[in-house]
């Protein structure tokens, strides 16, 4: 289109400006938190910190390291995530491949068994009671098994498998290959985009998961990063509330002696977020494709 009308020019101008604002709104809070985590406590309390650190200091991170529990929590989270992703990907693949075969007898029943769990569930209390009966309280197995496979992810993968031309599998079948072999040797190597996408989804889901850990893991030495982080957020909050409600010099003194000041909380937030931000750009080019494929032709 060679000529752009005046109306269109205004339209584009407004559109670009609004999008820029939205994008910045999305991302600036993170920048602000990073700035706080690197600023001195005085600068934070006096409200001088915007998007750039004031009185640059690494004290918050040093305190975080000295306190130590965050590393145990980090180790726990890595373990829970790695094992969880391996189990989830295996289960999702094993569920999705048979469901992608239209020739399979009884396929509608199996599909509905999965779909129904997406529409209805037993709820928190019955699930808790059943997990207790299974003896899974305080074990990571409860996290791995409860989050083993999500119906949505099974469907994304099933749709992807259906897009692979049947002829490839048929010729392997003629050569005497069985379904397991076909899945491993032919289908999976062709499915890297969907594997990358779902790996990211499961990894982020497990890494970020809070509710199940809160409910099922009671031993503090087995807490994950999110639980530990939440404790720190609460500590700051309670301390701030009591300091704010205590008037005058006494209140100011309380603020000065906070055990977990704003900056440490911010540092913990950054520590918990950075691993995701590191893997995110590498997987991003896959997941946009993966999500589109799975969602559109479901």
């Amino acid at each position: 289109m060679a000529q752009t009308s005046n109306g269109d020019r205004v339209f584009y101008g407004v559109n670009y400006s609004l999008l820029t604002i939205f994008t910045l709104l999305c991302i600036l809070p993170f920048v602000h938190i990073i700035a706080i985590s690197l600023s001195s406590y005085r600068a934070v309390v006096s409200g001088e910190v915007g998007l750039w650190p004031v009185d640059f200091t690494l004290t918050a991170y040093r305190n975080l390291i000295r306190e130590g529990t965050i590393f145990q929590a980090l180790r726990n989270t890595v373990w829970v995530t790695v094992v969880g992703v391996v189990l989830s990907m295996t289960a999702t693949t094993l569920a999705a491949y048979p469901l992608s075969k239209k020739r399979l007898n009884g396929r509608p029943i199996l599909l509905w068994l999965v779909i129904f769990t997406m529409l209805f569930n037993g709820g928190l209390i019955p699930t808790f009671i059943v997990m207790r009966t299974y003896g899974l309280i305080n074990r990571y197995w409860v996290l791995w098994l409860l989050g083993l496979a999500s119906g949505f992810n099974i469907f994304i993968m099933k749709t992807f498998f259906q897009e692979i031309p049947d002829s490839l599998e048929e010729s392997a079948w003629m050569d005497g290959a069985q379904d397991f072999t076909i899945l491993l040797r032919i289908v999976l190597p062709l499915s890297m985009p969907v594997i990358a996408t779902l790996t990211l989804f499961y990894a982020v889901g497990t890494w970020n998961s809070y509710m199940n850990v809160l409910i099922y893991i009671q031993d503090p030495s087995r807490y994950t990063l999110m639980l530990r982080l939440r404790q720190m957020v609460n500590q700051v909050n309670d301390a701030m509330l009591s300091a704010e409600s205590t008037e005058g010099t006494e209140g100011a003194q309380l603020l000065d002696n906070l055990i977990t000041p704003e900056s440490i909380r911010s540092a913990a937030i950054i520590v918990a977020t950075v691993p995701i931000l590191i893997i995110y750009p590498f997987l991003q080019r896959y997941f946009v494709k993966g999500v589109m494929l799975g969602s559109l032709k479901g």
Binding site: A91, M118, L124, Y210, M211, A272, L296
Partner: protein
């Protein structure tokens, strides 16, 4: 003669039936590895999804751990009668419904609008960077997002209040302990996390629209907005309908983590919802059967809503979820 034909036809169908059964059996044998693959999932579905559903019957019993799920005393609708008679329950249902309605009105259209805007961007670099950044909050946990929100809204050190004080010389506001503001920030945080990510699916749908439609409209002299309203939006209405159904399924099942992170006792009157109450009164307070009943009520309403929405979409000529 007539009888003979009849019996011949009958014997024929009988043999056809047995043949069909035989063929089906060979197919099942041929696909044995596929069934074997599905077997672990089947066992898992039963143990971790369907057994808890079976456990819902404790809503009709007085559950005690010593007696187990099916051994506890049967009390019929006692818990439900108590539930419907309690003002607490109506507070929970009201809050759950209201927050969901607000989400539906403000949060659901956000990714659609954002996708329409992104679709009009011609500069590829701008589009890619802006999309990459808009997706980020989706990957950050509610614990972190909640922590950030609490930090930036703090009345003493939060940047939002600092700006207010500096720019407008206004008094700092305790946002998260004020009922109205709390709801505002709850919805805003939901949009923050989900709007960018939600655009993916709409952008995919938009890219499936026939470009000739736009060319024809341009020749007819249609402006930007007319094209958006008469081509783009109708083109993605099917996707919108499906996401609406899915959203209604989550309707009454409001996200536990988001609300739990932002909640505090002061705003209980607007912020206490079914899942948080079930957690506190049920798991922490030990009211297992009563809160299982509340959870049951919630699940059933959610199921009915999905079912209804799906039927409505189909009745209007769309293709539903099933």
């Amino acid at each position: 003669m007539h009888d003979l034909v009849q019996s011949a036809v009958q014997s024929d169908t009988a043999s056809q039936r047995s043949q069909r059964a035989k063929r089906r059996w060979t197919e099942i044998v041929r696909d044995r590895q596929l069934y074997l693959m599905f077997l672990p999932i089947l066992v898992w579905l039963i143990m971790f999804r369907y057994v808890p559903m079976y456990g819902l019957q404790i809503a009709f019993r007085d559950f005690r751990f010593a007696d187990g799920i099916s051994g506890s005393e049967w009390v019929g609708f006692e818990h439900f009668i108590k539930m419907f008679g309690s003002p607490e329950f109506f507070l929970l249902v009201r809050n759950t419904l209201l927050l969901n309605v607000y989400q539906l009105v403000f949060q659901f259209p956000a990714p659609i609008i954002l996708a329409l805007m992104l679709n009009e961007v011609r500069n590829r670099g701008f589009k890619r960077i802006s999309q990459t950044l808009l997706y980020v909050p989706h990957f950050i946990s509610w614990v972190v997002l909640g922590g950030i929100i609490i930090a930036i809204l703090s009345p003493s050190t939060g940047i939002v209040n600092n700006l207010r004080v500096e720019l407008f010389a206004a008094e700092p506001v305790h946002y998260l302990i004020n009922n109205g503001w709390w709801v505002f920030w709850f919805i805003a945080s939901g949009i923050w996390k989900s709007a960018g990510w939600g655009t993916i699916i709409y952008l995919a749908a938009i890219s499936g629209i026939d470009p000739q439609l736009y060319e024809a409209a341009t020749i007819d002299g249609a402006g930007k907005f007319r094209k958006i309203f008469h081509i783009t939006l109708p083109g993605i209405s099917g996707t919108i309908a499906i996401l609406l159904i899915l959203n209604l399924g989550g309707f009454i099942e409001i996200g536990f983590e988001q609300i739990y992170m932002l909640q505090n006792p002061v705003v209980r009157e607007v912020a206490e919802v079914i899942p948080t109450y079930v957690y506190r009164a049920g798991l922490r307070g030990g009211l297992f059967s009563y809160t299982a009943g509340i959870g049951f009520f919630q699940s059933v309403v959610g199921l009915v809503l999905v079912w209804g929405a799906n039927r409505a979409v189909k009745a209007l000529g769309g293709s539903g979820l099933w």
